[in-house]
């Protein structure tokens, strides 16, 4: 965040409490809006950025509130100190729920949050000794005599603290979503397989996201304590969870400003309508309905500068000239005795092959030969039933797929798996996750060395885009590219991980003649830069011209291996491709 915005936020945090001087109602309302915005921000983290819908974020909110309340009432801690500790149990619960659900899928997250909130509600309602049950835990107003000595009223500094907490939370989220960590969330949301292939640990990043979301919701809950003063089990109610979800959706999913607008609406509108108390909920409902009908992308789309900003973010890219790209030499990839069965079907049957450093190997075979399965086995995406894969000294078999990418063995997919609603540049930038890595904390604190690395990531991304010839397309939405260019983009993303060995799954499928030629020349150039490549493809003409060595698979078995000319003369290969009794000439003609 630049200095001007820091000053601006600080000014608001100080000025707003004074603007409402002495008016407990307005400052209380503003504090409530800040709390709801913070809650919405937390929900948006999972719903918007991770794509995990939560039906029970009140579990984290309520836990934060109860943690703060219990620390004050049972441990005798100062509230403002408790405020700092209160997000921790919520973060831990987030990590736990996240770990359980991210392992098994997003639908489970919805269930897990909903049921967890319901369990916590029942516990809070029945553990009378601890929580006083439905009557509620009464927490006195946490006054700070030192501040009141300065002439501040409770409402003024309470509002100031709420605004500061919100500002800090927004800044945390802003930094993260613009860092490798946050970019990995978006990639994981679109396709966790793609993310893993680019070396992003999907499970760990999901857990981090959900734990952070839990912590923010817990903070919001703790801040809510001085507003409500009585903590009841309703803090875990589905109504509150729904409010968080609706704030995120109403404001605009996966935007930073959205939850702020949503929170403001949910806090202010029902209160502003109190003068018509009898009809206020109905009018609130009608307003919601109108917003949904007229502005389905959320309130954020109403801001005139919102779209402009999204563009501007992309254009600041080409400040750096693209640096030349180098690839470290590969190790030998050894697959020995690979067998993979699916039920009764043996897709790959006792295949052994090696890819030596500097080689460009082609893997061909008729449909159903087991090529893609073989590639998935070699890249660690599938567990072989028998056999093992080694990349140099590194064992690939039996480990998480992303570790293969982190050791320099990177695959692409047949389908162009991309993040379609972000730009070409952002797609490739997020793929620098492994090549120039960051931790959660370094992404959060963003020291000068982080900023230097971020510049390196930017120029690496730029270089990869230029290398595949998409330089002019850098700021276009990835989903808007024609098919051929999307294929090139997925190669650019793979290159941004600085692979040592690249496994390409049918890169030429669906390309026209010109595009296929461009691809060939790209692959040749990559080899000149020192990259080892293994390609699967149907386009025999291209493969014969391109590859140093060809491996032929048929019905899961290794049929032949050798130079293109050796392979094309091999009678077994000819038979496999053309059926028995055909002549060699036919094979050449097809090739």
């Amino acid at each position: 965040m630049n200095k001007i915005s820091v000053l601006l936020v600080a000014a608001v945090c100080i000025a707003l409490p004074f603007a409402f001087a002495g008016n407990a109602y307005y400052s209380g309302l503003a504090a409530y809006a800040a709390i709801l915005a913070l809650f919405g921000l937390s929900v948006n983290l999972t719903v918007g950025y991770l794509g995990y819908v939560s039906f029970g974020h009140a579990a984290f909110f309520g836990l934060g509130a109860y943690a703060a309340g219990l620390l004050v009432m049972k441990v005798g801690l100062n509230f403002w100190l408790a405020l700092v500790l209160a997000p921790l149990p919520a973060a831990a619960l987030g990590a736990l729920v996240g770990f359980a659900s991210a392992r098994v899928g997003g639908a489970y997250f919805a269930i897990a949050t909903l049921t967890t909130a319901e369990i916590l509600r029942l516990v809070a309602a029945n553990w009378i000794d601890l929580t006083r049950g439905p009557l509620g835990l009464i927490v006195p107003r946490p006054r700070i005599p030192a501040l009141e000595g300065l002439g501040l009223s409770f409402h003024q500094y309470y509002l100031a603290f709420c605004l500061i907490a919100l500002a800090v939370a927004v800044e945390i989220v802003r930094r993260l979503i613009n860092s490798p960590v946050g970019r990995s969330w978006t990639t994981i949301r679109e396709s966790s397989a793609l993310a893993e292939s680019l070396g992003m640990p999907a499970l760990r990043q999901r857990v981090i996201n959900i734990a952070l979301s839990g912590a923010l919701a817990g903070l919001a809950g703790a801040l809510f304590v001085p507003r409500t003063l009585v903590l009841t089990p309703d803090l875990f109610s589905p109504t509150l969870s729904a409010t968080g979800l609706l704030i995120a959706i109403l404001g605009g999913k996966a935007t930073l400003i959205g939850p702020l607008l949503g929170g403001l609406t949910f806090a202010i509108l029902p209160e502003a309508l109190r003068f018509i108390d009898e009809y206020r909920i109905a009018i609130f409902a009608v307003v919601l309905l109108l917003v949904v009908r007229l502005q389905p992308n959320g309130l954020v789309a109403l801001l005139p500068w919102f779209r402009g900003r999204a563009k501007a973010l992309v254009l600041q890219v080409d400040a750096d000239a693209s640096a030349p790209i180098r690839f470290s030499p590969a190790d030998t990839l050894t697959a020995s005795n690979l067998t993979r069965r699916f039920g009764g079907l043996t897709a790959v049957d006792d295949v052994s092959l090696t890819v030596k450093p500097g080689e460009l190997v082609g893997i061909i075979g008729p449909n159903g030969a087991g090529k893609t399965t073989c590639l998935s086995l070699m890249s660690g995406f599938l567990e072989p039933s028998v056999g093992q894969v080694r990349f140099g000294e590194t064992e690939i078999t039996g480990r998480e797929p992303y570790t293969a990418a982190q050791s320099g063995l990177v695959r692409t997919f047949q389908q162009t798996a991309l993040t379609p609603h972000t730009t070409v540049y952002e797609n490739v930038l997020s793929a620098t996750y492994t090549s120039i890595p960051e931790t959660f904390w370094s992404s959060l604190f963003q020291t000068s060395s982080y900023r230097e690395r971020e510049r390196q990531r930017s120029s690496l991304a730029r270089a990869c885009i230029d290398l595949v010839g998409l330089g002019a397309r850098a700021s276009d939405e990835a989903g808007s590219l024609p098919y051929g260019e999307q294929k090139m983009l997925s190669i650019a993303a793979a290159l941004a991980t600085r692979p040592r060995l690249l496994l390409l799954d049918e890169p030429a499928a669906g390309l026209n003649h010109t595009e296929a030629n461009q691809l060939s020349s790209l692959l040749r150039r990559l080899r000149e830069f020192g990259l080892t490549i293994a390609v699967i493809d149907h386009n025999l003409r291209m493969m014969m011209a391109l590859c140093d060595r060809i491996v032929v698979l048929d019905r899961g078995k290794l049929l032949a291996a050798g130079s293109p000319s050796e392979v094309s003369r091999n009678p077994d290969v000819v038979k496999a491709y053309l059926g028995p009794g055909r002549k060699k000439e036919d094979a050449r003609a097809h090739a």
Partner: protein, 289 residues
């Protein structure tokens, strides 16, 4: 002891049938429209209100109330679909926006009833009398809930398996894209599903209001349990909703013999959560989730 167990089994089955029927509609809408209908509980409440108005206020027989509940709630659902579901669904990010829209509708329906009827609870005279064997008692109304519920579940299953519209619904639940390709009018099937599911909720409300009493808040109370049943059963799985609904009712009733009721419920939820770790797609969901 046996009598106590049997009595609790019967209690649990009627309660479970209520969960199952409300959850079934909710899960049908989710399966076909990929939308969570926040207003579903209010449809249930409207069914109960119809029963009150028809029997207590207009003095007509209870059977009329059941029929009218289906028709009236279906009509309300048609309007809701027109203004808040169908036009929103096709927009980008439609399903999550529909969440907002149906939430607004649920507030509107609830407030509308509070303004016109008021917050007063009311009794609905269903079918009086009871069957008793020893100390085991089953009220006629509860028997009606069980029998009608079973009949409904069977006929819904038949409709889904045997009829053209049922096949279209299942096709749409499988893949909206594929259904469109083979020429199914997806908008119409969605509308039909939405209205049918809502009418089912209305019918359930009319069936259960003699057991539970009518209150304007009854919809908000029932939706939470139904929602838990839907997610645990596997979102979009009809069998899952029915089996889980019945199971939850029976388990709660049986657990209540040994445990304080709310603690029993908490433990059941925790166990289900653990079970779902083993079967993440929901106990009856298809593996595609």
């Amino acid at each position: 002891m046996t009598e106590l167990l049997l009595q609790q089994l019967l209690n649990g089955l009627t309660q479970g049938m209520a969960y199952a029927l409300v959850a079934l509609g909710l899960t049908m809408i989710f399966g076909v429209l990929h939308v969570i209908n926040f207003a579903h509980g209010e449809f249930y409440m409207l069914g109960g209100l119809t029963a009150v108005l028809v029997t207590a206020s207009a003095g007509l027989p209870y059977v009329v109330a059941i029929a009218l509940a289906i028709v009236l709630v279906g009509a309300v659902a048609w309007v809701v679909d027109r203004i808040a579901v169908a036009p929103v669904l096709d927009k980008r990010d439609g399903p999550s926006t529909v969440l907002l829209a149906t939430f607004a509708v649920s507030l509107l329906i609830h407030q509308g009833v509070l303004q016109s009827w008021g917050p007063t609870p009311a009794r609905v005279e269903g079918i009086p009398g009871a069957i008793s064997v020893g100390s085991i008692v089953l009220g006629h109304q509860r028997l009606l809930v069980l029998v009608t519920g079973m009949a409904l579940l069977v006929s819904i299953e038949l409709v889904l398996r045997r009829t053209v519209i049922g096949k279209k619904i299942r096709a749409l639940a499988q893949s909206a894209y594929a259904a469109q390709v083979v020429g199914i009018d997806t908008a119409r099937v969605r509308r039909t599903t939405f209205i049918a599911a809502a009418a089912l909720a209305g019918l359930t409300g009319a069936l259960l209001s003699p057991v539970t009493l009518f209150t304007p808040a009854m919809g908000q109370h029932v939706i939470i349990n139904a929602f838990v049943v839907v997610v645990i059963g596997g979102m979009g799985s009809a069998t899952g909703a029915v089996v889980c609904g019945l199971a939850l009712g029976v388990l709660e009733a049986l657990a209540s013999i040994y445990l304080p009721q709310e603690i029993g419920t908490a433990i059941i939820y925790a166990l289900l959560l653990a079970a779902l770790l083993v079967r993440p797609q929901g106990l009856f969901g298809s593996a595609r989730a």
